[in-house]
C-alpha cells in the first residue's frame, strides 16, 4: 500500500501545483471552450451564398424557373446576369463570381433527351472546397426536378447516413475531443519532468525511495482527470451549441477517451525524458501536433492521402481515437466494435511508456 500511497502523494502534489498555476489552469478549461467555438463555428464545409453569374442562352420560362430555384437554395447568390460567354469568363477571372451557370440554348431538348448535360457549372478551382460544392449542386433537387420533369428518372440516389443534414459540426465536434486532448495532454506533460529537472527538484526526488513507476504514473494521474473533464466539457458544449448527437454509450466513450488520454500523456512523458529544457519539450510537442491535426482524419479524409501519409497517420494516436469517437458518438458503435483502433491505441501507449521508462533513470548521468 505504501507503493500506492507514494504514487498518490506525487499525484496530489502535481495536482496542487497545477491548481496554483493559474495560467495553466485557465488553459485547461479555456483552451477547449475557445477551440470548440472557433472550430465549431468557423470551420464549415457547408458552403453558402457563393457569388455566381448566370449566362442564360435559353431564355425560356423553364430556364428562368431554374435560376430562381438555384437562388432559392441559398447555396448560390446570383450577382450578375452575363450577356455572353466572354463576359462570364471575365466576371470569373476578376473574382466577381466564383461560380458560373451556363444554361444552354436548347435546354428543354437536352433535358428531354437526357444524353447531354443541359446546364454547365463553371467553378473557380482556385478556391478550396468550391469544387465539392459544385459536385453537390449537380445532384441537387433543383436540377433533379428539371430533369425529372422532363425525363423521369435519376441515375443515383445519395443518402448521407449518421449525419443526414450533412452539418460539418457533427463531424468536427467529436473529432475535436481528440485534437484538444492532444494539445493539452502532450504539451502539459511534455514539460512535467523537464520542469522539475530545470528547477532542481528532480535531483532531490531521485535520491528518495520513490520508484520510476510511481514518479511517472503519479505525474500523469492528475492529467488523466483533467483529460476526462475536458472530454465532458467538449461533449457538453457540442451538445448545447451545435446539437451534436450522442448515439452510443457514454461508458464506451469514456473508456475510449481514457485509453487515448493515457496514450497522449505517455507521448508527452516520453518527450519530457528527451528534452533538456522546457522550451525544447514544447517544440517537440508542437512537432507532433501538426501531423496529428492534418493527418488524423480530423480535417481531411485519409482516402485522399498518399500511402506514406496514411502510414504516418497510423502511428498517430489521434487517428485511431477519431475512428473510435466518431464510431461511438455518431454511428452508435460499441467499444468492442472499435477493437481494432482501440488495440492500436493500447500498443502505442505500451510502446511510449516503455520508451519513457527506459529513458528515465534515477540518475543524473
Amino acid at each position: 500500500m505504501i507503493w500506492l500511497e507514494r504514487l498518490l502523494a506525487i499525484a496530489a502534489k502535481e495536482g496542487r501545483q497545477l491548481a496554483r498555476d493559474r495560467v495553466t489552469f485557465g488553459m485547461i478549461i479555456g483552451v477547449p471552450v475557445m477551440q470548440m467555438l472557433l472550430f465549431g463555428y468557423a470551420i464549415n464545409f457547408d458552403v453558402r451564398d457563393v457569388d455566381a453569374a448566370v449566362l442564360d442562352q435559353s431564355r425560356t420560362s423553364l430556364s428562368r424557373q431554374l435560376v430562381g430555384d438555384l437562388q432559392a437554395t441559398q447555396v448560390l447568390h446570383i450577382v450578375r446576369e452575363a450577356g455572353s460567354e466572354r463576359e462570364l469568363s471575365e466576371l470569373m477571372q476578376r473574382g466577381v463570381a466564383r461560380v458560373g451557370v451556363v444554361i444552354t440554348a436548347d435546354l428543354e431538348r437536352r433535358l428531354f433527351e437526357g444524353d447531354r448535360p443541359a446546364v454547365q457549372l463553371l467553378v473557380d478551382g482556385s478556391q478550396p472546397s468550391l469544387e465539392n460544392l459544385a459536385q453537390g449542386l449537380s445532384s441537387m433537387p433543383v436540377l433533379q426536378r428539371a430533369a425529372t420533369r422532363a425525363s423521369g428518372a435519376r441515375s443515383f440516389e445519395i443518402r448521407t447516413e449518421y449525419n443526414p443534414s450533412r452539418r460539418t459540426a457533427v463531424q468536427i465536434v467529436p473529432a475535436l475531443i481528440g485534437t484538444i486532448l492532444t494539445m493539452t495532454m502532450v504539451i502539459f506533460t511534455s514539460g512535467a519532468i523537464v520542469r522539475e529537472r530545470e528547477r532542481g527538484n528532480l535531483e532531490l526526488l531521485i535520491t528518495t525511495p520513490v520508484t520510476r513507476g510511481q514518479l511517472l504514473a503519479g505525474k500523469l494521474l492528475p492529467y488523466v482527470i483533467i483529460g476526462l473533464v475536458q472530454t465532458t466539457l467538449i461533449l457538453g458544449v457540442g451538445r448545447i451549441l451545435f446539437g451534436v448527437p450522442m448515439v452510443g454509450s457514454f461508458l464506451d466513450l469514456y473508456l475510449g477517451a481514457l485509453v487515448f488520454i493515457a496514450a497522449a500523456l505517455a507521448l508527452g512523458l516520453f518527450i519530457s525524458t528527451l528534452a533538456q529544457t522546457q522550451f525544447q519539450a514544447f517544440q517537440m510537442a508542437f512537432v507532433t501536433m501538426l501531423p496529428s491535426i492534418l493527418l488524423s482524419g480530423f480535417m481531411f479524409p485519409f482516402e485522399g492521402m498518399p500511402a506514406f501519409a496514411q502510414g504516418l497517420a497510423q502511428v498517430l494516436p489521434l487517428t485511431h481515437f477519431n475512428e473510435i469517437i466518431r464510431g461511438i458518438t455518431l454511428r452508435g458503435a460499441t467499444i468492442t466494435d472499435m477493437y481494432v483502433p482501440l488495440l492500436k491505441l493500447v500498443i502505442f501507449l505500451a510502446v511510449m511508456l516503455s520508451l519513457a521508462a527506459a529513458r528515465f533513470r534515477k540518475r543524473l548521468d
Binding site: L204, I206, P209
Partner: protein, 315 residues
C-alpha cells in the same frame, strides 16, 4: 561498524575532464566529515556518486554497508540529501513540502504528524508553516531543506554546500543544528568552501582538482602542515612582498589585514631568522615571527604547494 562511508579509487570522468581522480575515503560514523575545496574541485561530483546519482567511472563505494550504485535504492531509505540548490517546491508551503516528503519516505500518518511538528519547531519554522517556500529567505529555505532531509531520521546526511546562500548568523545556527543531529548518532558529510565551517568538522578532506590534497582532523592538519608559517607585520607590506618574491624557500604569501602569512619550505632550517635578516635593510622594523598554522594555511599549503611541487617535477 564504525565507518559510514568508504570509497576506494573513486573516479569520475565527464568526457575528457576528470572531475574526481581516484580518491580514497573513510567517513567515521556519528561525526561531521567535511569536504573543503574550491568550486570545481570535485566535491559535488563525489557526493553525487556517494548517493548513487552518478555512476563512478572507476572505483568502489560502500555506504552504510551497502554497495553503491548497485544497492543505491536500499541506501536511499537511510540517507538524507540536501542539494546545493534549493530543491523543494517553491509553489508549495512549508507544511506541504514537509508532508509530501514524509509521504515519499512512506511514514505513517501518526509518525508524519509528529515528525513534521518536531521539525517545524526545531528548525524555527513555526511562523512560516503556511508560507510558500518560494517566498522564504535564504536562511529559512535552508532550514526547511534540512528539516525535509531529516524527516525520516536518516543515518547519514549528505549536505552539498548547504550554507552558500546564508548569512553568518544563520550559518552558526545551522551548525548548531548539525551538532544536535550528530549527538543523536547521525553521520554528516558536508561540503563547503568556508574555512570557519571546515574548522568545525570532526574530520576534513581538502579536495583539489579531484584529488584529496590533505585529510585528517582540522587541528592535526594544522600541526602536520607541510610548511613553516611565518607571520610578518609591517606598515608597507608591498615592499615586504617585493623582498619575499626573491626568496626561493617561500612557497606562498597571503595577506590578513596588516599581516602577511608566509609559507616556507619545511626543510628551511631557521626561516624566521633568514627572513628577518633579509628584511632588516629595506623594512627595518618589520615584526617577523613563526606562528601556528591556521586551516587557511593548511588549505593553501595543500592546494598550492602540491601544484608547485607538481610543476617542479614536470620540469
Amino acid at each position: 561498524m564504525t565507518v559510514a562511508i568508504s570509497a576506494r579509487g573513486l573516479t569520475r570522468r565527464f568526457g575528457a575532464v576528470i572531475a574526481v581522480d581516484g580518491i580514497d575515503l573513510d567517513v567515521p560514523r556519528a561525526q561531521i566529515y567535511g569536504f573543503l575545496g574550491p568550486n570545481g574541485s570535485g566535491k559535488s561530483t563525489t557526493i553525487r556518486m556517494l548517493c548513487g546519482l552518478l555512476v563512478p567511472t572507476r572505483g568502489t563505494v560502500n555506504v552504510l554497508g551497502y554497495e553503491v550504485p548497485r544497492e543505491a535504492e536500499t541506501v536511499r531509505r537511510k540517507l538524507g540529501y540536501m542539494t546545493q540548490r534549493f530543491s523543494l517546491w517553491d509553489d508549495l508551503t512549508v507544511t506541504e513540502n514537509l508532508d509530501f516528503m514524509c509521504r515519499i519516505f512512506g511514514l505513517d500518518s501518526a509518525t508524519r504528524r509528529a515528525r513534521m511538528e518536531d521539525r517545524i519547531r526545531d528548525y524555527d519554522l513555526v511562523s512560516h508553516a503556511n508560507q510558500r517556500a518560494g517566498t522564504l529567505s535564504g536562511g529559512e529555505r535552508q532550514r526547511l531543506a534540512l528539516a525535509a532531509a531529516t524527516l525520516h531520521d536518516p543515518e547519514l546526511l549528505l549536505l552539498d554546500e548547504p550554507t552558500s546562500a546564508v548569512d553568518p548568523q544563520n550559518r552558526r545556527d545551522f551548525w548548531e543544528n548539525l551538532f544536535a543531529l550528530v549527538a543523536r548518532g547521525t553521520t554528516i558529510l558536508v561540503s563547503t568552501h568556508y574555512m570557519d565551517e571546515a574548522e568545525r568538522c570532526h574530520r576534513l578532506a581538502i579536495l583539489d582538482h579531484g584529488r584529496i590534497a590533505a585529510e585528517g582532523e582540522p587541528k592535526q592538519l594544522a600541526r602536520d602542515i607541510d610548511a613553516t608559517v611565518i607571520e610578518i607585520e609591517y606598515a608597507d607590506l608591498t615592499s615586504v612582498r617585493r623582498v619575499l618574491a626573491s626568496v626561493p624557500a617561500v612557497r606562498s604569501v597571503a595577506q590578513l589585514g596588516n599581516r602577511l602569512h608566509v609559507l616556507v619550505h619545511r626543510d628551511a632550517a631557521e626561516p624566521e631568522r633568514e627572513l628577518r635578516a633579509l628584511l632588516a635593510g629595506p623594512c627595518a622594523d618589520a615584526r617577523v615571527e613563526r606562528v601556528g598554522a591556521t586551516l587557511e594555511d593548511v588549505f593553501v599549503a595543500a592546494t598550492s604547494l602540491r601544484r608547485v611541487a607538481g610543476a617542479e617535477r614536470a620540469a
